[in-house]
Symmetry: C2
């Protein structure tokens, strides 16, 4: 559950702005899509972009949640660890996705770059202040969070009730749908994550993922 009728993207041609937001390639895919040129200019004053190498950690579970991010380029995996090292990947993020909304003042999961990654950073305090003046953005965040919740519930169904073959098939469909939403080709399908990442996402082992993929071919 999350959004009572989320705000819709503003239609129209690319905006002609000064700062980094003007040239943003993923604005229409992101929460920023609901903002007007004026509002974007305001948002622009608090952001900065950061680059990460593949494999580097972006945020860590239970660390202070100082920033929020938009994925600009690359992909990210989110995961949680059990005390004995078992790992569960809770999601993958792609360009346009939002990262870092936290319940308390700490992140609820870790995030790691899968590929070379570029993020757009929003300092949390500044964003909070700005949010009071940008109700459309706040509504959009509610919609985004609702969307993530719905996706999490689909993942719960997958993990609770689907077989290995169904899980792998659902995963491929998910990747394909997400690629289409970013206007990327769904075939050949790009799969940036490793078998281990996929296994930890689907609640399986790498061997089972590998076997199932060969079986599906």
């Amino acid at each position: 559950m999350a959004s009572l009728r989320p705000a819709q993207p503003r239609p129209g041609p690319p905006l002609d702005l000064a700062g980094p937001c003007g040239a943003c390639a993923i604005r229409e895919l992101s929460v920023c899509s609901v903002l007007s040129a004026n509002e974007l200019t305001r948002l622009c004053t608090i952001i900065s972009t950061i680059d990460f190498d593949a494999g580097s950690t972006v945020i860590g579970e239970s660390e202070p949640a100082g920033d929020l991010f938009n994925v600009v380029r690359g992909s990210v995996k989110l995961y949680k660890l059990l005390t004995d090292g078992r790992r569960q990947v809770t999601g993958f993020l792609f360009p346009g996705d939002f990262l870092g909304i936290a319940l308390n003042d700490t992140y609820a999961y870790s995030a790691e770059a899968i590929e070379p990654l570029q993020l757009c950073r929003f300092p949390r305090k500044k964003l909070e202040m700005l949010l009071a003046e940008l109700p459309r953005l706040e509504r959009k965040l509610l919609g985004t969070t609702a969307h993530e919740l719905a996706a999490a519930q689909d993942q719960i169904v997958l993990l609770g009730r689907k077989t290995a073959k169904e899980r792998v098939a659902s995963f491929l469909v998910l990747l394909s749908d997400r690629a289409l939403k970013r206007r990327q080709p769904a075939s050949p399908l790009e799969v940036p994550m490793t078998r281990t990442d996929i296994a930890d996402y689907l609640g399986l082992t790498t061997e089972t993922v590998s076997r199932t993929l060969t079986w599906l071919r």
Copy 2:
């Protein structure tokens, strides 16, 4: 992810209001906790309460999402069905919990009363209009949704990486924590749902749940 610093409950003694909200036993547990007396009076004008028998369906997956609800009394299970009848319970709701935030205009899951149930109903359109005037409530909804998302991610870890014994133990801890939050005794722990419900929540079978419970004793 969900709330940038959710609004906090307003401190102070029970409010003395006219309408149903004045006597509401679960206000402090619910999203309404952030509202002032004036704001509550406004909210009061759009609500009504409904009662359901145990076993009756409150909302159905993919039905038009016309209303949202607070649980006042009783408990609810949320679930999704696969086409072949497999069922996954995605959550249980107790007094104070919020129900019905929808992504589109349809509910994303079904909800069924476990015990005799009383809900407080918010017509969606009226609530949406009111929300524009009650920013605290909107922020609180974002926080609530974020909280649900975090809970869903915990459930994902449980389903993806925990053993049957761990799942059942985690479930008991969850029930106990939730009971304490409602100021109910955690021992003896009240378990209103059937073994089948628990199994469909934990991604197990009733037999395994039953066996695991006897093993834990």
